[in-house]
Symmetry: C2
DNA sequence: ATTAGTGCAAACTATTTGCAATAAG
DNA sequence: CTTATTGCAAATAGTTTGCACTAAT
């Protein structure tokens, strides 16, 4: 239902407010897109989709804001493809699987093993596991 | 000692032979560099270092061959930095830690947990975990 | 002989930046 | 009213490609 999406948008709006970051029209459009269309997108993907409705949107603005949203924890930046960053609109920590045949990315629940606080004396802030292989769909066809 | 390095070079030469890939002078220079200088390098790093001794070396050749070596399992391609691929000259599977302060990359022994053969119905061929945080050296200074 | 690799420069793609006009607080 | 953002175009950086020449098998 609409209100669930809107309340998730408002959560993100709150994050911006807490950081004293101006809530522009373009940012609200992007936030609504992210919450409405959960998935994995390149900056170009987002730009192409939103350009339909907002022809004056600039790809530089998409890049600037996705980068900002990543810093704020609103999206995740995935470095799973060889040539570009993919934004995961689902912000909770989880891992990813890339199908080497079809290129689709799947969310994988992070193993219950908890994030180590320390490794060889280094302090760990975050971790990300990427899996590679052949997905269910490709295997069956 | 010299012979240990040379025998490791020969292992890689054997891999090329098995795949019927010509062993050129440039490839041998690259292979010797990789075995002698274990570590994490960008294509540009390797190019800059070897250009001293081999001024006619081309960065395109470095890219071509590192990409080939990665396919053959002679090096690992790391997508841990935001803007470029890093080659790890140590080919055995292991994870990596990136220091968010100094940018150094550290090798991390892969958790004893074995690679799952399957995840949500997808067949897993490989996996890689990247850790991010503050390294021992930076924390102490 | 034949096939593949090298080095160079140019091309390409993802991303970033400079800047004038505009919108947000 | 002051500061930050937008959209555009141009710039940048990493990587790839086309091609003539050369080397490897």
């Amino acid at each position: 239902m609409q209100s669930v999406i809107e309340s998730k948008v408002q959560e993100n709006v709150k994050v911006l407010r807490e950081h004293h970051i101006p809530l522009t029209t373009t940012r609200l459009v992007l936030l609504r897109f992210l919450v409405t269309n959960r998935g994995h997108y390149s900056a170009e993907d987002i730009y192409q989709i939103l350009k339909e409705e907002y022809p004056s949107l600039s790809i530089a603005t998409v890049y600037n804001n996705m980068s900002l949203f990543a810093k704020l924890g609103i999206v995740q930046e995935l470095r799973i493809e060889r040539d570009k960053v993919i934004y995961d609109t689902y912000p909770e920590p989880h891992d990813h699987f890339l199908c080497l045949k079809c290129g689709r990315i799947y969310d994988i629940e992070t193993a219950t093993r908890s994030l180590p606080k320390e490794l060889d004396g280094h302090v760990v802030h975050s971790a990300h596991t990427y899996y590679f292989g052949i997905c269910k769909d490709c295997r069956e066809s």
